[in-house]
């Protein structure tokens, strides 16, 4: 088992490496280069040369990549083109905000979705199941901002329970911070819970069609007991995978939600950088997002190995 886990960790690191190459290549395929894009048409050749030297663009591509990557590994992501601020100092607090919001949403969404999914599997084919199916299908197909604005209209404008904009600042008390981010967290919950619930239901049901479950029924166990004691341990792996996938989606889906609620997270920073075409910031944000995404997926795979009852015994 330890070998499997080690393997998976190594694969995660390799993936991250490949992703960093990919991100770097993407920012290099621009016709011309960053310097001419920033300085624009009117730049003199001398100014271009100086600026290129300043950015290190006079070095060959692979050398720039190595410099960028070693810098990134030491926590040095360079400075922003537009305002010359140190990127890592801008990213760190915003990443914390984004992770806070995603974590808050996950804390509500995971127990809710998995619980309801199991409940739905127990009541398969009944009216409750069909109704839940229709509701979750609808929730999946709605755009993020639609749910967000509906919630704002009902919970922030009509009854004024929550603020429609989530303003947070440094050293804000926890309770206040939780209150401010409740509305975006509910929106995110609605977005990911539906998907997780559907997957939980279908993976429990697919285990239900195996012979050993039939055996459990035949020996007279009740449906609820069969699901919780017999089916769930084997259905856990796909559930964990889908939970992790959705957590990863949370961290990314947060981009649009942050824009709706004007929440100072990493997504906002990246969107701003894209509209200003500030390449180093985009690269850095992309790398950080990819890191979170790959780590979550790796973590999920390791958890899957850990919970699989068939891998528990030494062969």
């Amino acid at each position: 088992m330890a070998k499997l886990i080690l393997n998976r960790l190594l694969l995660g690191v390799l993936t991250l490496f490949a992703v960093s190459v990919l991100i770097f290549i993407c920012t290099q395929i621009l016709p011309g280069d960053v310097a001419s894009a920033v300085l624009g048409q009117g730049a003199t050749p001398e100014a271009l040369k100086v600026f290129r030297k300043e950015l290190g663009l006079d070095l060959p591509a692979w050398q720039r990549y190595v410099n960028w990557l070693t810098g990134a590994l030491h926590g040095n992501l360079g400075v922003a083109l537009t305002n010359k601020r140190v990127i890592i100092d801008e990213i760190a607090p915003r990443l914390a905000n984004t992770l806070f919001l995603a974590g808050y949403a996950a804390a509500i969404a995971i127990p809710l979705a998995v619980g309801l999914g199991i409940l739905q599997a127990i009541n398969e084919g009944k009216l409750v199941d069909k109704l839940a199916n229709l509701i979750t299908l609808t929730a999946i197909s709605l755009p993020e901002f639609f749910i967000a604005y509906l919630l704002i209209i009902f919970l922030a404008v009509d009854v004024e329970w929550f603020p429609s904009l989530s303003t947070v600042y440094k050293d804000m008390p926890w309770a206040e911070r939780l209150y401010q981010t409740t509305l975006p967290a509910i929106t995110l919950t609605l977005l990911v819970a539906a998907h997780m619930q559907r997957m939980t239901r279908s993976s429990v049901l697919s285990v239900m069609s195996t012979p050993y479950i039939e055996m459990a029924f035949l020996k007279g166990a009740r449906r609820g007991r069969v699901i919780v004691r017999h089916a769930l341990p084997n259905a856990a792996a796909p559930i964990i995978t889908v939970v992790a996938l959705n957590l990863a989606y949370l961290v990314v889906g947060v981009v649009v939600i942050e824009a709706v609620f004007v929440y100072p997270g990493l997504g906002q920073l990246m969107v701003d950088a894209v509209s200003k075409r500030d390449v180093p910031v985009i690269q850095a944000c992309g790398l950080v997002f990819a890191m979170v995404f790959v780590s979550l997926n790796t973590l999920a795979d390791i958890l899957v190995i850990l919970v699989n009852p068939r891998l528990r015994h030494k062969r």
């Binding site: 755009p143 901002f145 604005y149 990246m270």
Partner: protein, 277 residues
């Protein structure tokens, strides 16, 4: 009444009717819309009236007209993306399945790496480097989306290449394209069509989301996501303006999903492999 030889459920009927309505509006917008695309006919966020059924937008254009043109634009772009993505994904997937060997390994690894970063982040990087224009949008999202199509097409192709009739075609000396076109594709239609519906929805939401962030389809073109963004401030005055275009998006995606759900439930009925379980 039957559609595709099956009787739709109630929710599928709803989906089919709404989809037909959207397609009709998207095709005939210039003749159906009450006003011009960028014609100012009222004040900022005018209340709905008989002249303007859904009121006016942030600079006094008729909301209904804008939604019609916006739907036309967003549906058109999403459709172009999905078609291109299926073209790339299916060719890659089937070639990978039929040829096998290092070609298969190459495509699979490439797709694995592409899918290890969230699509939105990837798209943002590309848009940040190239700037946002409709061709860049279509190409970027289609290439990103083709990775998902590849996975399905390869899986389908893998199941089909081991069939006797493909073997027979190979022994007859048929070429790669002939096998893909005449043996594999006809047998892979059903799952590909429902996947097309799902991918279309996803791309539709994706492009709407990008436009909502201000990085997708740029003004002066009307598009549904951008309209939500432009009218967003109205919400603070308790006005419904951004809800209308958002509802149009939601209505279309929900409908397509309802239809796809129904189509999948037809496929899922006991037939061959399913009955064995």
């Amino acid at each position: 009444m039957k559609v595709f030889g099956h009787k739709p459920t109630l929710s599928a009927w709803f989906g089919l009717v709404v989809m037909a309505l959207f397609i009709f509006i998207a095709v005939f917008t210039p003749w159906l819309a009450p006003y011009g695309e960028s014609q100012n006919v009222g004040g900022t966020w005018d209340e709905p009236s008989m002249a303007m059924l859904l009121g006016a937008d942030q600079i006094g254009r008729d909301m209904l007209t804008r939604i019609m043109y916006g739907a036309r634009m967003t549906i058109g772009v999403a459709l172009a993306i999905t078609l291109l993505s299926f073209l790339i994904g299916i060719v890659e997937g089937f070639v990978s399945a039929v040829v096998g060997g290092w070609v298969d390994v190459f495509f699979t690894r490439y797709v694995d790496v592409m899918l290890s970063i969230p699509g939105l982040i990837f798209a943002l990087i590309i848009l940040g480097v190239f700037g946002s224009s409709i061709p860049v949008l279509i190409l970027t999202i289609a290439v990103l989306d083709s990775n998902r199509v590849f996975r399905l097409a390869r899986a389908l192709g893998m199941n089909l290449t081991v069939m006797e009739y493909v073997e027979a075609a190979r022994l007859r000396g048929e070429g790669l394209w002939w096998i893909i076109r005449r043996e594999i594709l006809p047998n892979a239609w059903a799952p590909l069509v429902s996947e097309f519906g799902l991918r279309f929805c996803f791309n539709f939401l994706f492009i709407a989301g990008l436009s909502f962030l201000g990085l997708g389809i740029q003004p002066p073109y009307a598009d549904l996501g951008g309209m939500v963004r432009e009218n967003a401030a109205a919400i603070n005055f308790g006005m419904m303006a951004p809800i209308y275009p958002a509802t149009a998006i939601a209505l279309l995606t929900v409908s397509v999903n309802l239809v796809v759900d129904w189509m999948l439930s037809i496929d899922a009925r006991p037939s061959g492999a399913q009955a064995e379980l």
